[in-house]
Amino acid sequence: MLRLLTLCLLLYTMPLQAVIETYEFESAQMEAEYYKLINELRCLVCQNQNLSGSNADLAKDLRKQTYEMLNQGKTPDQVVQYMVDRYGDFVLYRPRVKKGTLLLWFGPFALLVLVLWLVIRVMRKKQILVPPDADALQRAQQLLSDNQEKQ
């Protein structure tokens, strides 16, 4: 059992080590910025991976580019802009909120509201949501108290 667990752990660490090259950072903040960036930028060669997860040549180059730009004192926003200027919005795993992405950002919520509205309408129509009128309430109470008396 222990042997199996050890094997699993060993197998798990392998792909992580395979990709990342080591860079030296001047500060912990810069390191954090670097990792945040390479996690949020898409590798265009293998499109379902981010830069940090990809071993493609281009991903390596772009990681290097990211590191160098941060090293030159560029802000993360400038790095992101640099990538978007060249590869388009597609490089962003977290698309910006702008006219073209409104549907992407808010479409699901709009859909939710629409579905809720439809559900409520249908329920009203089928009288599921209509509050019982006074007569019906009184009859129900009567039935309940009758039942209690019998017991």
Binding site: L58, D61, Q65, V84, R86, Y87, G88
Partner: protein, 173 residues
């Protein structure tokens, strides 16, 4: 009549998903279209002491074909790049992307060299500036140095006849 709305939604979804399925996710629209070509100054593959920069190419329509000797698809499109160059509609420059000069020269010796010149981009920096992510890629730059067209992947007779040649004629005219 009860089924009109669900059926309508179903048909809409099928249409939307069908459209999505037929798009090629590998073809990412380039933000560089209709923008000035990124500046570069690169040595020629066959004459490393000579540099070409994009300002040298102002005033003419030109094609930039990104290729490498390690790129299998480049071999597939080579015939059509060669045809394009032979038509003399525009100069075709090669961007020799992340390649070893000796390998690149051998490749051209073996398969023929259609390029007015191939530019050495050994570290891929210029490739990054041009937003290259899959070799081969083909760009068309107009007389003012604006990128007018980008094709990702190997060009073939179809793309040549229906897109590249008409655009080159239009831009040169």
């Amino acid at each position: 009549m009860r089924f009109a709305i669900p059926l309508g939604i179903f048909i809409l979804m099928v249409g939307l998903l069908g459209y999505g399925l037929n798009l090629d996710p590998k073809k990412v629209p380039s933000p560089l279209i209709d923008k000035a070509a990124p500046t570069f100054s690169l040595a020629k593959l066959h004459a490393p002491q000579q540099q070409i920069s994009n300002s040298d190419l102002l005033g003419q329509v030109w094609v930039l074909n990104v290729w490498a000797s390690w790129c299998v698809a480049c071999r597939a499109e080579h015939e059509w790049v060669t045809r394009l160059a032979q038509m003399n509609l525009a100069k075709v420059f090669g961007l020799n992307y992340k390649d070893k000069p000796d390998d690149a020269k051998n490749w051209l010796r073996q398969w023929g060299d259609p390029y007015s010149a191939s530019l050495k981009d050994e570290d891929g920096r210029v490739g990054i500036d041009w937003g290259v992510y899959g070799v081969p890629e083909t760009f068309i730059v107009d007389k003012k140095g604006i990128i007018r067209y980008k094709f990702i992947g190997p060009i073939n007779q179809g793309t040549l006849n229906s897109e590249i040649v008409p655009l080159l004629r239009e831009l040169s005219g």
